[in-house]
């Protein structure tokens, strides 16, 4: 193949290739501008070549771009820019205006030295459209956030699950051990829940659990942690709350639950709950003991006839 033919093939490739290629001299004058750059900027080579790139694109980050190019001239080495740090250099449209969710084409840029002998004569800049990559990465990040959230939530009621509740209890207990203060835990249990399931079916039972969880959640303070411990058993972590105050909360929960029957699938289901409370006090070896004590109080409430709240004596 002769020299002329090779030359023109390279030119054709540069014209057709699906990424931006342009060349700058040391004064930031454009020496070459390919078809991708023309199509996306709307400015043809005739208009851009021979002038400073900032004449045609005054919105470019002037200091940053000049320094990038200058560093390539001085070091004779490459420079890069990634969409992850700098989403785009040029404000180009992308081909996902509907589904993309990003404002402009996300771009990876490479700045390459063009050398004759040892001397850098110009800098070639390539622009890759990485919009799809960026959209996929964002979707992945969103999915991870959702997964993390689901991992902490109870599927039926939407409140914290036992794993998350215990993790928070462990943290709060450690804080209490270090700094002192007050820390109470309530455990409560819907009375005769098995009878509700047996009489009205599991769908109604599930609705009862959901409605009760929602009612209690609405009645709590923002800093309280409310979780489903399993079955019809729920737990409440009350930081900075002495036992006496916790038992006021316990009564509030109990009345919130028993005051209004739950309407589900056309039936009215009266529900009551028993509540047990315990508070951290010096000498407690761990948060598990605190849970055990609240559970003992709950058992005592059940034995005394249910629909009541009992503090650990």
């Amino acid at each position: 193949m002769n020299q002329v033919m090779e030359q023109s093939l390279s030119d054709l490739v540069i014209e057709r290739v699906d990424f931006g290629i342009f060349v700058l001299d040391r004064t930031m004058k454009v020496l070459m501008w390919n078809r991708f750059m023309q199509d996306h900027s709307g400015l043809p080579a005739e208009q851009v070549v021979g002038k400073s790139v900032f004449d045609s694109f005054p919105e470019l980050p002037r200091v940053w771009l000049t320094r990038k190019v200058e560093s390539v001239f001085q070091l004779g080495s490459f420079a890069f820019s990634s969409w992850e740090q700098r989403p785009y250099l040029f404000k180009f449209d992308h081909d996902r205006p509907i589904t993309g969710g990003v404002d402009f084409m996300q771009q990876d840029c490479t700045f390459m030295p063009l050398t004759r002998g040892r001397e850098v004569v110009a800098v070639c800049v390539t622009i890759s459209d990485v919009t799809n990559v960026s959209v996929m990465q964002r979707e992945r990040e969103e999915a991870v956030v959702k997964l993390r959230e689901y991992a902490n939530r109870d599927g039926l009621t939407g409140i914290a699950n036992r794993r998350f509740f215990e993790a928070r209890l462990r943290d709060e207990f450690a804080r209490w051990q270090r700094y002192g203060g007050e820390l109470s835990v309530l455990l409560f249990d819907l009375d005769h829940f098995k009878d509700i399931n047996d009489r009205f079916g599991h769908a109604v039972g599930d609705t009862v659990l959901r409605v009760m969880a929602q009612r209690v959640a609405d009645a709590l303070r923002a800093q309280d942690i409310f979780g489903r411990f399993g079955g019809e058993e729920f737990a409440l972590l009350l930081p900075c709350t002495p036992l006496a105050d916790a038992m006021i909360v316990a009564e509030k929960i109990r009345t919130t639950i028993c005051d209004t029957p739950v309407e589900a699938e056309g039936v009215r289901v009266p529900v009551t709950a028993s509540v047990g409370g315990a508070a951290a006090r010096p000498g407690l070896p761990g948060y598990e003991v605190l849970i055990n004590e609240a559970d003992a109080a709950l058992y005592s409430a059940k034995r005394q006839g249910r629909n009541r709240s009992v503090a650990l004596a």
Partner: protein
């Protein structure tokens, strides 16, 4: 092991080339960054894959977690370059570029972008100069973060690596007050070592 990979002459030649290259790189960096960055005399080691992390630990004296930025370079001799410093030293790494522009509110630069830029400049200067001495013009890939809090062992995944032996070239950078050091490590696997040998032989025979 060592003798089979590089002869003593080749090793001396490589050391000499690396010394020359670092001189050039330091000059170029000083012009670009307006700060004098001291480059150490480069150290060349041939390492087996299972010893790589330990060797790197010995050379750098780092026991803590590191931040590592990697870049590929290629000509017929190809490899990877890593810029490594203690995780606690990222701020110092960025401060190698003593640049008021970084603090400009108008065109702000994130710490990550700055870190990539600094790593890229150090890698570009040193690797280009060494490769130029070997009469090669390297092409670089974009810098990527290996991790912000890595153990040196995690830099090399010995169980999955395709190479058995690598040539490891270490240079460290410090500012004049020597309060902070960053390390550049060039790693080349067997095939590239062979080509490096050929390039070194060509230089030796031309003397």
């Amino acid at each position: 092991m060592r003798e089979t990979v590089l002869t003593e002459d080749q090793r001396d030649a490589l050391q000499e080339i690396a010394n020359l290259a670092m001189g050039q790189a330091a000059t170029r960096l000083a012009t670009l960054l307006d700060t004098f960055i001291e480059l150490s005399v480069p150290r060349v080691r041939v390492v087996r894959v299972e010893d790589a992390a330990r060797t790197l630990r010995d050379m750098t004296g780092i026991d803590e977690h590191v931040i590592a930025v990697r870049q590929g370079f290629r000509s017929d001799i190809k490899g990877e370059a890593l810029v490594i410093c203690r995780s606690s030293g990222v701020g110092n790494l960025c401060a190698l570029v003593n640049d008021p522009y970084v603090h400009s509110a108008y065109e702000s630069v994130s710490q990550t972008e700055l870190m990539f830029d600094v790593a890229n400049v150090l890698t570009g200067a040193c690797v280009s100069c060494i490769m130029n001495q070997l009469d090669r013009t390297p092409i670089f890939s974009a810098p990527g973060l290996l991790g912000e809090k890595l153990a040196l062992e995690d830099v090399f995944h010995a169980d999955v690596l395709a190479w058995r032996t690598a040539l490891l070239l270490e240079v460290n950078f410090s500012l004049e007050d020597k309060t902070f050091r960053a390390h550049l490590v060039m790693l080349m696997a067997e095939e590239s070592i062979r080509r490096m040998n050929e390039a070194l032989n060509a230089i030796l025979s031309s003397l």
